[in-house]
Amino acid sequence: MTETLEAREPVRVLGGPPPGAATLEARGVHAWFGDRLVLEDVTLAMPANEVTALIGPSGCGKSTFLRILNRMHELVAAASLAGEVLLDGDDIYAEGTRAQHARLRIGMVFQKPNPFPAMSIRDNVLAGLKLAGVKCADKDGLVEQSLERAGLWREVRDRLNSPGGALSGGQQQRLCIARSLAVQPNVLLMDEPCSALDPTSTRRIEQTIVEISDEVTVVIVTHNMQQAQRVSHHCAFFLAGENEPGRVVEHGSTEQIFENPEDSRTHDYVHGRFG
Amino acid sequence: AEAFSQVNGSGSTYVGLAMSDWQNGANSRGIPVNYSALGSPAGVNQYGDHTVDFAGTEAEVSSLEAAGGGGATAKQRGYQYVPDVAGAVAVMYNVTDAGGRRVDTLHLTRDVVARIFARQITRWSDPAISATNGGFALPDQPITLVGRSGQSGTTALFYDFVAHVAPGPYGAFIARNVDKGIGPLPSGVRPIQLPTRGPDADFYRLFADSDQIAQTLANGSVPFSIGYDEFGYAKKYNAPTAWVENQAGKYTLPYAANIAAALTKANLRPDLSQELSGVYANPDPSAYPISAYSYLMTPCGAGRDTCKGGYPDGAKADTMTAFIEHVACDGQINMARIGYSPLPPNLSQEMMNANARLTGRPAKQLNAGNCANPTFRGSLGAGATAPQDPFAAMGGVDALTHPGNGGGPKAGAKEGPKSSAGAQASNGPGASSSNGPDASEANGGSRDWRNAEPAAYQGSGLGGFGAWAALVLFAAICVPLVVRGIVRRFRRTE
């Protein structure tokens, strides 16, 4: 599948993020919705070129944390936060930084596939260019490359001009991954990208994650322990008590979290005792 | 030749139809005129507001002022009245005789018409009404008057007639109603709206426009009513229209010939407004007394000789004068066909005089050679002739009223065009009690009128189906069903 890609010179975009994966580091992140503290003092490093999985039961603040990582959190009215998020050492929340810029470098894939329904597949892939003002000389090459890396090229190359909404759920999700990859971000955040998908599509996307992790840093939220085990190098376990904010209970290499967790709650969780 | 620019007018609905005809004629000769029939008061007001260039009205500014409907601005702008077409107010009615049949050849004297509308005569059985209708007493029902709600030029015209013919009752009527919606009226000023409260108001049914009045009176939905309206609407809906007696003692309907005959006696006041006492008392046997004409209102300075410059825009003045000339001559050709009467020659000439004042040039003198107005040739145009009075064929109203002529009117009335007047005796089971000399004398015309149900309550729809009947019916049908159900259940459980 990747032969074509390697045989060719990779297509690069202009005006986008600097090339290559970047390290993301959260320091003392707190998050509030209104006056409710939902995330407390999360400090976590997500090393470049590796896949970090965030696991934990529902409502413990995984999505909130993920959205803080690329400044999507502030889109929610009455949401606020504290702490620092360092992208290759620079705080994306530093004064004078544009949210747009941070988001361009840190892409995101959502739980529900959301291709732009008014655009064709090709336009969907190129949407980031248009939307963020990134240039590219070889658009067709970029489309092919992005779809290839998202593992969708074979399936759609004959119908690049049909609308994005006409694909199946799994294909739509891969299209969204391709769309995010097209602007060549340094980090890719994924919030339960497979939860709405069938097994085949899930497997396909897990494959994709593994493949792209040599180009971007991936942070993925998942409910599926097996998935976390399969794709991630690092794991962070979030937990929120009743009426308490979410915290990172434990983090470390995936192997350690699953085989030999320090905390008994982690052990219970990864072995399906609850959640 | 001249440069025209569009003139707009608004006002009287009474001339609306004539205006359509004139616009159509004027436009086809390149005179751009536009008219919108919003009602006389609206016309005068908009004229005063300078939003239109001319108005069409029957109501005089003084009436309007008295009614609080504006007029002050029109005075400020200055105006002259220009006669444009002759017409008449028809008296329509919806009465059934004791037998429940529609009366359709009612004959009324001017005096009676005026007293009815001044609410001195208030019941259909009034001897004054029987007197001109073969002596037959109509049912003793209160007279419901049908008129226009709000301000209306037609109302003003009609009540001018009432005021002239029956000054006493009119005066009393006005005095009674002066603050009941008709406003304080200086003497000589006619009301342009009818009372909306007070004792008289209960007997009025006021409608928003002429169309509804005619439609209502034609379809008989207001029992025992009489109203005034433009004759055109009466013809449209075939509403029964009263024959009105003139000075010569003849009874006429407002056909063009009768209107034209009457209007030969119209006098003009210095401001060209009409003084119609001569018309109401025109001795011509074919005159229809409630005739009048409608005005155009065009700008003019304070004195009548200085109308020049009324339109600052010369092209507008040209258009207006061209239009007035069109109306005065060619515009009159079709009038009889659509329910009006062409202006008599003297009034056509007055229009040209008005034009002369507007332009400052000498007036064009009209004659049969240069004016197509049919009255210059002694004709009135198509559709002018009036039908025969059905009573005349029977020897006239007087002869019919004579008591000795018992069976005559009955037979005679049947010969009328669509007559059921001269009410036949209804020999129904209840028709035994005699109600006074009038009734018995009139061949039993209204024997059981006291018990007669108003026409509206008979016949149609759910009229005779009472709620109690529904209940009884429903019970009668459902009880067996319920019983059957109970019996079956009983059996099953056994």
Partner: protein, 326 residues
């Protein structure tokens, strides 16, 4: 913030003040859209202000009597809106009283009884009917329907005349009454209320409907326990919206009613006036009468506003409008 996440609960740090640098396009965007929004605001303020300004002479002439005088009587210089307002409200209430039961039935039919194909068709048809100009309703009501309503009025007064609202004077004329006008207006209101109520009914959480059915309920049971309680706000709101529309209804009423203001309980009898109809029939007034009309228009506006607001408050308070799935 320096305290590591250990046993002791640290005081949460200060929240970040997020200062995003908006791009030039964004600033322009914000300015243009705000401009549009505020111009709508300004437009309404101008309208309201102007109406008030032009109504002042009438209010000055009549004082508070403007609201307590029945007759609108330019002849005496006394303007009163009470009779007009009464007629307006009565006609609108009749219209809504007739329209709402039918609308609820029709909306129920569309949302819960009809097959999907019929549902799609009816939804479109109702929307289409809602767009038919009121002039045509008025025309039809006046020339076609009126004769058929008169017998109904007769029956009502003949059999239910003991009820004050159906009472008529002997020999009264039974057409061109507020009742007839109310019925004709109700025909215009029905499509609007139906479409609002249907919208709300179709938003009933399917989970609750299925819960009811899964308990062995009949369709009616489901409707009664789930759809109607859920749609209550929608019914009230839809009725209020219909009321607002009925209050402003002009042409049909101006064709039907004699426009003589009065306070009467004899709704089946000839007579009645509404503000909008009266204004339409007196188009072209000037001077004090015009300012009287403006004042009446202002009152109508205020009234419609009040109903619309109540409607939107009720709709948004109710579960149905908020779209909250409990």
């Amino acid at each position: 913030m320096t305290v590591s996440s250990s046993a002791s609960v640290p005081a949460p740090p200060d929240r970040l003040v997020l200062a995003d640098l908006p791009s030039r396009a964004d600033r322009l965007f914000r300015r243009v859209t705000s401009g549009a929004g505020l111009s709508v605001l300004a437009l309404l303020i101008v309208i309201g202000f102007f109406l008030v300004y032009r109504s002042v002479p009438a209010f000055e002439a009549s004082g508070f009597g403007f609201f307590t005088t029945i007759q609108f009587d330019p002849a005496s210089g006394h303007f009163g809106v009470l009779g007009l307002l009464y007629g307006t409200v009565v006609v609108a209430l009749i219209a809504v009283a007739v329209a709402v039961p039918f609308s609820v039935l029709a909306a129920l039919f569309i949302s819960d009884y009809a097959s999907p194909r019929v549902r799609g068709f009816l939804t479109g048809l109702v929307d289409l009917l809602a767009a038919i100009p009121s002039l045509l309703y008025g025309l039809w009501g006046f020339s076609f329907l009126r004769p058929y309503i008169t017998p109904l009025s007769q029956w009502l007064t003949g059999n239910l005349g003991w009820f004050p609202l159906f009472e008529t004077k002997p020999g009264a004329v039974l057409f061109n009454s507020m009742f007839v006008a109310g019925l004709v207006v109700s025909l215009m209101v029905i499509p609007i209320t139906t479409s609002v109520i249907r919208e709300v009914f179709t938003q009933t959480p399917p989970g609750e409907k299925e819960a009811a059915l899964a308990l062995g309920s009949t369709r009616w049971g489901m409707v009664r326990t789930v759809v109607l309680p859920f749609g209550r706000g929608g019914i009230v709101g839809g009725s209020m919206l219909g009321l607002g529309r009925a209050l402003g209804e002009t042409i049909a009423v101006s064709l039907l009613l004699p426009q003589v203001p009065e306070l009467t309980t004899h709704l089946l009898e000839f007579g009645g006036a509404t503000i909008s109809g009266f204004v339409a029939n007196n188009a072209g007034q000037s001077g004090p009468a015009l300012s009287g009309l403006m004042a009446a228009g202002l009152v109508l506006f205020a009234f419609t506003l009040a109903t619309n607001f109540t409607a939107s408050v009720i709709i948004s308070r109710s579960r149905s409008g908020a779209g909250v799935d409990a």
